[in-house]
């Protein structure tokens, strides 16, 4: 019966963790109005999380665009449908790869830095000092980072998709020699702004909320030791990535089911 007790304990522990996350989310939401009164801090975080991620996102987007174009060309050329390379790459990027890959990269680059920064601030008693100075650390430190991530993520996802399409253009038209006119017109006709682009943007906003929240939570709850912070950053990446992928499945099923 030991394994039954173990499962029970695991289930209860997971429920407690979920509840703790929910409470924390609620507390964070409550501090948003006060923290928005001094928007500069959120703006500075958009810089730290968005601008400083540009290199990773843009180079990955370009690389993904190159490879996608190449692979879809190989696949479509056998059916004589090579002109549809642009369309396929666009749809793949805007609907899926843009939001998802950006979220994964964001979790790795920006999420870990958020977790480490907050964890180290906690270890150095900076958050306690703030609290004793009658400044709410959730409002002053956590909320701006959370908001910064939510603003930065959709922009990064759009940039990823855009530069991916440009990369596909370079490979498809400039290198392979597909017709430029067909490349753009087939793409234009096949991609719907509301359904594909709009849903992709909604996805990236949702992923932004997930990654920012997980990063901030793990940092705040980290144990104030070097191993504690290290483990927290690992957890940020793992939990963010898995959650993003699962939510992506649900959203895709909801958004792109054929009616």
């Amino acid at each position: 019966m030991n394994w039954l007790a173990a499962i029970g304990r695991f289930a209860l522990g997971s429920l407690r963790a979920l509840g703790h996350h929910a409470f924390f989310f609620w507390e964070l939401m409550r501090t948003l109005p006060t923290s928005l009164r001094r928007p500069y801090f959120a703006v500075a975080q958009v810089h730290a999380l968005g601008n400083l991620s540009l290199l990773v996102i843009l180079s990955s987007g370009l690389a993904v665009g190159f490879v996608l174009a190449l692979q879809t060309y190989y696949a479509l050329a056998t059916y004589g449908a090579a002109d549809s390379v642009g369309l396929v790459v666009n749809l793949s990027l805007v609907r899926e790869l843009g939001p998802v890959v950006t979220a994964l990269l964001f979790a790795g680059r920006a999420g870990t830095s958020l977790t480490a920064e907050i964890g180290l601030m906690k270890a150095g008693e900076q958050l306690a000092a703030m609290e004793l100075m009658a400044v709410d650390p959730k409002s002053r430190v956590l909320a701006p980072r959370f908001l910064g991530g939510i603003v930065a993520m959709p922009i990064l996802a759009l940039l990823f998709s855009a530069i991916g399409i440009l990369g596909a253009y370079v490979v498809g038209v400039l290198m392979i020699g597909l017709d430029a006119g067909n490349f753009w017109s087939i793409m234009e006709n096949g991609v719907d702004v509301r359904r594909d682009l709009g849903n992709g943007i909604i996805k990236s906003i949702v992923f932004g909320v997930i990654c920012s929240f997980v990063a901030v939570y793990q940092g705040y709850e980290a144990k104030a030791t070097p191993e504690g912070v290290a483990r927290a950053t690992t957890r940020t990446v793992v939990i963010s990535s898995l959650t993003v992928l699962m939510v992506d499945f649900v959203l895709t099923a909801l958004m792109f089911s054929t009616r």
């Binding site: 150095g124 008693e125 306690a128 000092a129 004793l132 100075m133 009658a134 002053r140």
Partner: protein
């Protein structure tokens, strides 16, 4: 609630009480109390030292005064008003009146020295940049670091960092100053500077200072009154420095003189040496 008749004298005579610790018990986990039914009184305008070995609950006491945790039993009263940790408005008012110096400074590492000291001013006042600049420079001047205003936190030494933290703690001219191990890890000069500053600031601001430390000599030189605590969270003696120096209590004597063995044993509890080495029966 203890009545008047059961209140014995737990503090300095003749001084108006700012903070009263009234039969407080507290533990981070249920069943393991860090503080056991202790009572203390801190006089207004005085420098009071809380001395004791590690693990006797001194730092926890400071956190209770700052309203960080809720006491399990008893009450902590500031200006005769009991602290209710659930009352956010009361905590806010309390914390505006106090300044705390953490053991390692707890400076904001992403800000400069100037910005660290300016932090409470920016958060709690509407003063314009020019006024803030003047006040920050004056506070830094009081701790002797006006010239270091533009340095980053990574560029200053530990002792300097403590002084910056002190400047930050007095930025809003608090009535109550809490010092958590201010002398730990400092060289003799820095220690002398810090002790001097604590006393001078207390008198200049007309504030009340509580120093948690285990450095008996430095504290006795500057404090008006002292409490000696021992694990598990009890007061073993209190009085003026000259009174404590003359005490005949063996526990007090061992602590003040730093004797290696006495009521606090040298050996961690263990079976007899012969048994461990496998000799004898």
């Amino acid at each position: 609630m203890p009545s008047e008749s059961t209140r014995t004298n737990h503090g300095p005579v003749g001084a108006d009480t700012l903070i009263e610790i009234d039969h407080v018990s507290f533990g981070y986990e249920p069943g393991r109390n860090v503080l056991n039914d202790i009572s203390m009184r801190f006089g207004r305008g005085q420098v009071t030292a809380i001395l004791g070995g590690s693990g006797c609950g001194k730092t926890t006491l400071l956190r209770l005064i700052g309203g960080v945790h809720r006491v399990d039993q008893g009450s902590v009263r500031v200006d005769a008003e009991a602290i209710d940790t659930r009352n956010a408005e009361q905590l806010f008012r309390l914390r505006r009146r106090l300044g705390m110096l953490f053991q390692f400074g707890a400076l904001f590492t992403d800000l400069s020295v100037f910005e660290n000291v300016a932090f409470p001013l920016r958060e709690h006042t509407d003063l314009d940049d020019a006024m803030i600049r003047d006040i920050v420079l004056m506070k830094l001047n009081a701790v002797g670091l006006r010239g270091a205003a533009m340095l980053r936190i990574a560029e200053i030494s530990g002792g300097m960092g403590r002084r910056v933290a002190l400047a930050r703690a007095i930025a809003l001219d608090p009535e109550l100053l809490l010092y958590d191990e201010p002398f730990t890890g400092l060289d003799p000069i820095a220690m002398g500077v810090t002790a001097n500053l604590i006393r001078k600031l207390n008198d200049a601001l007309g504030a009340t200072s509580l120093i948690v430390s285990h450095d008996v000599q430095e504290c006795f030189e500057i404090c008006d009154y002292a409490y000696i605590m021992a694990a598990p969270g009890v007061v073993i003696a209190h009085g003026r420095p000259d009174e404590l120096n003359a005490s005949a209590d063996p526990q007090v004597r061992q602590f003040i003189r730093g004797e290696p063995d006495g009521p606090v044993p040298f050996h961690y509890p263990a079976p007899p040496l012969a048994q461990d080495l496998g000799l004898g029966a």
